[in-house]
């Protein structure tokens, strides 16, 4: 996955300024930055909810800049949301079954009950076992604990069979224990997926990332290994400094 010279403004505000970034296969690439650095805009540009004013996005060698959000998912680019986005009145299993169904082609099937369809249930159940929600399949998603909802959020994305995961602050709103659980969970996925991790939680970022890009005012001011970023003077001044001071 590669973004080249992405540009996006809202009125007079430049949210993404000539931003280039490359995530190589199998790595976890974290994007960090202070509030208002344009992280969320960047996620929306990559996932297709927003169209860039300039620049291009390449995914597995293909130009996907003009593709709609659903079309990108079908190419293997899945995302999770910062604010938990699940089907609250569906059961946990039904949440994941919808993704499996979406991956099996069109849903213009009007007659056979979907709920009993083993070609949907089996993969969904297997995936839920894998993410540790195997015991919770029949719970209505809205009744899950916050941490479990975050796990389900990612399970829904995983069920689309992606090669690339765009994770928008997966630790958002989690306590230290839940965060650690999520870190372990993402570590277990490492290698199977290329991941772009947008995150505030520095412990998580330094525990997980192979490389880090620092975003400030829509610009990438530095990219490097966690060690390089920790010792980068510009980064310390612009961002990390705020926290260590």
């Amino acid at each position: 996955m590669e973004a080249r010279g992405l540009q996006k403004s809202f009125g007079g505000l430049t949210a993404t300024d000539n931003l280039s970034l490359e995530a190589t296969r199998g790595e976890i690439h974290a994007v960090i930055g202070p509030n208002g650095a344009g992280k969320t805009t960047f996620v929306h540009l990559l996932s297709g909810l927003l169209k860039p004013d300039g620049g291009e996005i390449l995914f597995e060698g293909r130009d996907i800049t003009r593709l709609s959000a659903p079309a990108r998912v079908n190419q293997g680019l899945a995302r999770s949301f910062q604010i938990t986005s699940i089907f609250r009145d569906f059961t946990v299993l039904e949440n994941v079954m919808l993704s499996v169904q979406a991956g099996q082609g069109h849903s213009f099937r009007f007659w056979k009950p979907a709920a009993k369809d083993e070609s949907l249930r089996t993969p969904a159940r297997e995936l839920l076992e894998k993410v540790g929600l195997g015991e919770r399949t029949d719970v209505v998603a809205g009744n899950l604990a916050h941490g479990e909802q975050r796990q389900l959020e990612i399970a829904i994305s995983l069920a689309t069979n992606p090669s690339f995961l765009l994770l928008d602050e997966p630790m958002a709103g989690m306590g230290p224990e839940e965060s650690q659980g999520m870190i372990d969970f993402l570590k277990a996925l490492k290698g199977d997926y290329t991941m772009l991790l947008i995150e505030h939680d520095m412990d998580a970022v330094f525990a997980l990332a192979d490389r880090i890009t620092v975003l400030v005012y829509g610009k990438a001011i530095a990219t490097g290994t966690p060690e390089e970023i920790r010792n980068d003077a510009t980064v310390r001044a612009a961002y990390l400094g705020e926290e260590t001071a």
Partner: protein, 317 residues
């Protein structure tokens, strides 16, 4: 659906049972007039079931749904006016007209959301309402009498027979509920319900929702058009009033009253709505003074309507 003896399911069986026996029961009780009332209720119930498909399960609040009653009805009326009475021409024409118009209206209105969707469906429907008002050839707002009901050209099945007409409507009502049930639980229905719940998420798992919403809109339009063609046949009369916006509002009310997103709620809603207005209007000409506040109370206190009230706490359908 798990518990067959839930209060909501018992109510469903009672209402269906009533519809089934009224042609025998009402004359026996010396109230043959109620056969007409029940036939009308069933026709409205089909329309309400069709609206519930898009509104209850798809989150699309169409404020112009009665227009398909009008289109289905006028297709019969206009063809009959020109001397074409064969059901084999009339019915496909009515269904085809509803399919084409709901496809066009849906393609336009589904590009919007929320209040804009409500206003556009209303505006498009009123356009056809005013067209029918201005169609002098077809009676303008006086409406159009239909001399004979659709003719199937066979001796053993004639809609001119009132009992046959009644049970034809009954059969279509059962079919509309059954088809809704199949649709809602199919893969298509899952996409519909998920889209109502969280459209962004549906797109984020790789489904373009527009085509699905449009398909649902057309299915609902056609189903409502069938209610319209039955109404034209039953009443032997069509008029612009059957597609004027208050009718669309009443349809929404029937659905909400009976229970949105429940399979049989719209039928119960149509039943209670029309029976109540029937009974109240025999007590006093100012019956709206009682009816209005009653509807308001239902909306405030019975979220989920009658079926929602009866299934509270138990499994959702």
């Amino acid at each position: 659906m798990a518990d067959l003896k839930s209060p909501a399911n018992i109510l469903t069986v009672i209402v269906i049972g009533l519809f089934a026996v009224v042609p025998f029961l009402a004359p026996a009780l010396g109230e043959p007039f109620y056969v007409l009332v029940f036939a009308r209720i069933m026709i409205w119930a089909i329309a309400a079931v069709s609206l519930n498909l898009i509104m209850g399960y798809g989150g699309m609040i169409s404020f112009g749904h009665a227009v398909y009653l009008g289109i289905g009805g006028y297709a019969i009326g206009i063809l009959s006016f020109h001397g074409i009475n064969s059901a084999w021409i009339q019915w496909p024409a009515a269904i085809g007209a509803c399919a084409v118009i709901s496809l066009i209206f849906g393609a336009i209105s589904l590009r919007t959301r929320g209040v804009y969707f409500i206003m556009i469906t209303l505006a498009l429907a009123q356009m056809l309402f005013f067209l029918s008002v201005s169609a002098e050839r077809y009676g303008s707002d006086d409406g159009l009498n239909i001399l004979s009901r659709s003719d199937f050209g066979v001796s053993f099945f004639s809609l001119e027979d009132n009992t046959t007409m009644y049970y034809t409507i009954f059969a279509f009502l059962l079919a509309s509920v059954f088809i809704s049930w199949k649709l809602v639980h199919s893969r298509f229905g899952v996409v519909m319900r998920a889209t109502k719940s969280n459209e962004t998420r549906v797109e984020a798992v790789g489904v373009s929702t527009y085509r699905y919403r449009l398909t649902a809109f057309v299915i609902a339009g056609v189903m409502c058009g069938i209610a319209g063609l039955l109404q034209a046949n039953f009443e032997r009369f069509v008029s612009p009033d059957m597609m004027n916006w208050p009718r669309s509002g009443e349809l929404i009310f029937m659905v909400v009253l009976g229970g949105m997103s429940t399979l049989f709620g719209p039928v119960t809603g149509a039943f209670v709505f029309l029976m109540l207005s029937e009974i109240l209007s025999t007590w006093t000409i100012h019956w709206h003074i009682i009816f209005g506040p009653f509807l308001v109370l239902v909306v405030i206190f019975a979220r989920g309507g009658i079926h929602g009230l009866l299934t509270r706490g138990s499994d959702r359908e």
